[in-house]
C-alpha cells in the first residue's frame, strides 16, 4: 500500500513548461512542486499543506503560492541566472538554479544546487522530509534497569542476596577467623570492602 501511496502525487499531469518569453518586458518561469503524499504525514502536528507552501525567487524578491495542482508561475523575470527556493514545513527542498536565457527562449536550464543534479523540467520535489521532534522511546524494562535508579536498586539486590551466598560458601575456618577479626575490629568499615583495603 505504501509504495502505491508514494506514487500517488498531488496532481496527475506530468509535463511542465518551464520558461517561456511572456508578454511585457521579461520572461516567465513556470514550474510545479510535487509533494509525494506518502512522505512526512506521520508524526506531525501540522502535515505539510499545499496552501502554506511558498515559492521564493532570489531570496525574497518575489514570493508566490501554489495552485491546487502544484503549479507556480513567476512573471516578468529578466534574463539571467536565478534561484528558486521552496519552503514547506516538514520538507527539505533544495534551492534550484534556473537559467533564463535571452538568446534561446524556452530552453530549460535548471539544476538543484544541493547535489548539482540537472532537471529536465522544473518539477521540484523534496529531497527528504524533516522530523522536528525527537521520538520518545517507548517504555521498556531495560530502560528502567539502565537508569541510575535501576542500577542502584540492582546493586543493592546484589549486596543483599549474593553476599550472604558468598559468605556461606566460605571455608568454616576462614569464616571463624574473619568473624573474630570483625569482633576485634567492631563495625566493618567501607575500606575493608574495597580492593586492597582489606587486611587479608
Amino acid at each position: 500500500m505504501a509504495p502505491i501511496a508514494r506514487l500517488l502525487l498531488l496532481a496527475l499531469l506530468s509535463t511542465a513548461l518551464t520558461i517561456s518569453s511572456g508578454s511585457g518586458d521579461g520572461y516567465t518561469i513556470n514550474g510545479r512542486v510535487k509533494i509525494p503524499q506518502g512522505l512526512g504525514t506521520k508524526g506531525f502536528a501540522l502535515p505539510g499543506k499545499t496552501s502554506n507552501v511558498k515559492v521564493i525567487l532570489n531570496g525574497g524578491q518575489i514570493v508566490t503560492y501554489l495552485r491546487p495542482d502544484g503549479y507556480f508561475l513567476f512573471q516578468n523575470i529578466p534574463a539571467g541566472t536565478h534561484l528558486i527556493e521552496v519552503t514547506a514545513i516538514g520538507y527539505f527542498f533544495s534551492p534550484v538554479r534556473v537559467d533564463v536565457s535571452a538568446r534561446n527562449p524556452g530552453k530549460v536550464q535548471a539544476a538543484l544546487t544541493e547535489n548539482r543534479r540537472g532537471l529536465s523540467e522544473l518539477v521540484l520535489e523534496p529531497l527528504r522530509d524533516e522530523q522536528y521532534y525527537e521520538i520518545r522511546e517507548p517504555f521498556s524494562i531495560m530502560s528502567v534497569v539502565k537508569s541510575p535508579m535501576g542500577l542502584m536498586v540492582g546493586f543493592m539486590l546484589v549486596v543483599v542476596f549474593l553476599m550472604p551466598k558468598l559468605v556461606e560458601n566460605m571455608d568454616p575456618e576462614e569464616m571463624r577467623r574473619a568473624q573474630e577479626e570483625m569482633r576485634n575490629q567492631g563495625v566493618p568499615s567501607l575500606a575493608s570492602l574495597l580492593p586492597g583495603g582489606g587486611r587479608n
Binding site: G60, T87, E114, F155
Partner: protein, 982 residues
Amino acid sequence: MAIMSFIFVFFFFSSLQPILSLYEDQVGLMDWHQQYIGKVKQAVFHTHKTGRKRVVASTEQNIIATLDLRRGEIFWRHVLGPNDVVDGIDIALGKYVITLSSGGSILRAWNLPDGQMVWESSLHGPKHSKPLLLTRNLIIEKDNVLIVFSNGRLNAVSCIDGEVLWKKDFEEESLEVQQVIQPPGSGFIYVVGFAASSQFEMYKINAKNGELLKHESTAFSGRFTGEVSLVSSETVVALDSTGSILLTISFHNGKISSQQTPVSNLLEDSPGLAVIIHPSVTGIFAIKTDAATIFIRVIGEGKLEVVEKTNHETVVSDALSISEGQQAFALVQHAGSSIHLTVKPAHDWDSNLLKESIKMDQQRGFVHKVFINNYIRTDRSHGFRALIVMEDHSLLLLQQGAIVWSREDGLASIIDVTTSELPVEKAGVSVAKVELNLFEWLKGHVLKLKGTLMLATPEDIAAIQHMRLKSSEKSKMTRDHNGFRKLLIALTRAGKLFALHTGDGRIVWSHLLQSPHKSESCRQPIVLNLYQWLVPHHHALDENPSVLVVGRCGPSSDALGVLSLVDSYTGKEFSSLSLVHSVAQVIPLPYTDSTEQRLHLLIDADKHAHLYPKTPEAIDSFQSEFSNVYWYSVDDDNGIIKGYALKTKCGSNVADEFCFDSRELWSIVLPSESEKIITTATRKLNEAVHTQAKLIADQDVMYKYISSNLLFVATVAPKASGEIGSVTPEESWLVVYLIDTVTGRVLHRMTHHGSQGPVQAVLSENWVVYHYFNLRAHRYEMSVIEIYDQSRADNKDVWKLVVGNHNLTSPVSSYSRAEVITKSQSYFFTHSLKAIAVTLTVKGITSKQLLIGTIGDQVLALDKRFLDPRRPVNPTQAEREEGIIPLTDSLPIIPQSYITHSLRVEGLQSIITVAAKLESTTLVFAHGLDLFFTHYAPSRTYDSLTEDFSYALLLITIVALVAAIFVTWILSQRKELQDRWR
C-alpha cells in the same frame, strides 16, 4: 571495585540524556508563539451563509488573513512578498477571496475556507496607473466577472478561473482614471478620470465585450487634486488643486454637466486647505480641513448642503447596503475616555440606526479606520457590528455596545526590544503558600511518575500535559532564581510600548507614548530605539527599572529629537522631553550616576554630543572619562566611515554645559565606483567572554583578539547591490573589513570574487560569521573569520611566566598596536537568511551556537564548531579529542535543531538573545509578524535538572532503600538470635 564501576556507569548513563532537541509533548513548556497580522488596511465581512462567520482583512504588512468573527482568531493567513502590496480585496462567488496586488499587476483568488490559492492571473498594460478593483455581481453569459482597472487597462476577469474575458486599453498619456463605476442593473461601465489635470473625461463601456460606447470630455479652468468622491452612480465630487472649490460633475445619460461651489460658501470661516476624505456613501461626502470635518449632502442637480460640521476626530466607514435600496454608514467619534459609534442611513442624516458609546482604553489612541457589517436580530431589526482599527494598530470588534474581542496587532511591527528584570519576591509571604501546595506538588509528581511508568490513563496524560503547560511557576510576576522570568519590553512602529512576560507571553502592560503626538511642533513623530535607562542593582534596588525611548519629529535625520522615560514595572511615562537638537546616534555609556541612571551620549546631525541625564553628578563622572569616549559613523551612501572623539564643551553661542564638540580622528573612504557598504556588524555591548586563551590540539595556546571596538563592514560592487541574477560573477565581488573603531586601523580585509549580497553578519568574541551569495557556485555561503592576538603568543614560555617577564596582565587596548593574525574558512549553506544571531550566556563559558533565521521563517541552531576555520579533512587523534569536526563543503541542517520546531515566525525580522542567570541557558526571542520565545541551552542544561526529572521516583527509591535497610536489619537480628540459640 563494584562501587567504582557503579559510579562510572551512573555518570555514563546520566550524561546520555538527550536534551538538545525537543520531544513533541514538550512544545509549549519553554516556548510560546503568537501570531499577528499587522495594521488592517481593508476588511470585508463574510457573514451571509450559515457557516462560520469570518472577516477577510488585508494589512499594511502585505498580509491577507481571514479571522474568526466570534473570537478574532486567525483561520489562515498569507504573507505576500515585500513588493507585493495589496491594493484591494473582495469576496467573490461567496467562496473566493480576491486580491489585487503589486500595483494592480497580480490578481489572485484564494479559497475562503482553507486559504488555498485557486488561480492567479497577471494583468499588464501600457502604463502605470492607480489600480481599481470592482466586484459587483456582474454576470456575463453565466460567468461572474471582476472588473479590474490597472496599468492603464480595463480588464474583465472571470471569477471561476481568472481568465481575462476582454480588455480595453486607455493609452492616452495624461489620462488619470479615478473611478470605475458600474451602475447596478445596467450593462455598461463608466470610466471617469482627468486628462492633463484639468480635463474631465468620461468613457462609457459595454460590460459584455469592452466596446467603447461613448466618450465625452469637458475642460475646466482649474486643476484637480486627484481624489474624487462618488456620490451616486452618475455623479462625482472633486476638489480643485487649491482646495477651495468643490466641483460637482454629473454624467447622466452620457452628458457631462458640472457645477462649481466655493468651499467658503458652505462655511463661514475660512477653512484652509480641504481634502475629500470619504469616497463612497450615496448622496453624502465629507471634506476635512485642519480644524473640522464637514459632511455635505448633494441635493438634486449639483446643489450642496452642509449637514454637519464637527470638530472632533471623526472616522467614517464605507457604505453598507442593508436592504433593497437602503444604505447605511458608520461614524466614530472620540469623546474623552470613550468613543461614540453611530450608524446612520445614507438618505436621512438626522436619524440614527444605532448610537452606542463604548469605553475605550486610552492606551489605544484614536480610531483610524472603521468597517461595518449588519445582521438581522431575532426581532427582525438591523443590528450592526463594527471592526475598528486603532492608532496603536490594534483591531477591535464592537457589537451591542461592548468590545467582543481585540487583537494587539501592533506587535506585528516591533522595531526594538529590550529586557527588564522583574521585582524581587518579598520574603515571608510565600511560606504558607508552599505548605498548601506541597500536597499538590506531590500529587503532580505522582501523576508524572505514572506517566513515565506508562500506567496513566488518557485523562491522566491530559492532566499531566495541562499541568506542565499551565505551571503557575513560570508566569509569576517576580524574579526567579534561574533568571528565566523577565519582561520583554517591545517598541512598535505605532509608538507603543508593550511589556511581555517571558513565561507565557502575556501583555503585562502597554503604553502609547504621549509625547510624540501631543505637541504641536512635532507633526510626524516616529520612534527609533529603546535603551535601558536604569537597571537597578546594589544600592538602587528600591528604584523601578526604566527604559529610554528615543524618537524624532519627522523622517529626516535632522528633525528634532524626543525622549521618553518609561517605568518598566508599571508602564508609566514619568518623564518626556522635546530636545532642541536632532538625534543621529545614541551611545549608551558604561557609566552610571548615583541613582544608577545610565549615562547616554546623543550625537546630533552637526556632530555635537549631548550628555543625558542632565545632572551635575552625571557631568562630574563623565569628566573623568572624557578622553576615553570614541565613536564612529557609517555613511552608506558615500562609503565613508569616520571615527570621532570629544573635543571641548560647546563653545560660542550656547551656554550648555552638557553639550560637547567633537573632532574627527580618522576616516576610511571607500572607492564609490567599486565598493558600496551594505552591512555592518559590531559586538554586543553586554557580551561576556570567559577565556581569552584557546588551547589547541598540540598543547599550544592561541590568544583571542578580544576588543569591543571591532567593526565588521561588508561592501559589494555597486552593480551587484541588486538582486541575484542581475550580474555575472565577473563583475561582482564582496569585500569584508575588520576595523578598529578607535584608531581606524583596518585589521583585516578580504575579497570574495564572484560573490554578492545581501550579507547577514554576526560578530562575537573574536570571530565574525557572515552569509552571502556565491555566484560562481550559485549557492549561499557562510564564512568565518577568527582573529588572534599574536603579540601574546610568546607567553607560552614557562620561564617567562616564572620570571614575570610576560604581558598577560596588560590590558587589551586599542592604543597599542596589536599584531593580529586571522584564520578564515567558507562553507556552503542551503538557505537564504533573514536574520542571524548568536547565543548569549551570562558568563560566556557555554559554547556558542549560531541562531539562523532562514527564508522559511524558521530559526535553526548551528553549533559554532561547524564554522571553525581549523576543520581539517582528516583530523588527528588530538584534534578529534579537541572536538574538531572533519571538513565538509557544506553546513549540515539537522531538522531537530530548529528551535522553532514545526512553527514559523512569519515575516522574521530579528532574533534577540538574552542571557538567563543560569549559565547554560539563553533566552531567545524572534520577532517579525509573529513572536516566538524559547529557552535554549547550547550545551544542554548541564547545571540544572531538566523539567522532566522525576522527583517522585527519587523519593520512592529513597523510601524503598530505607525500608530495605530496616527489613534486612530485622532479618539479620533474627538470624543472629537463631545462631545464638543453636
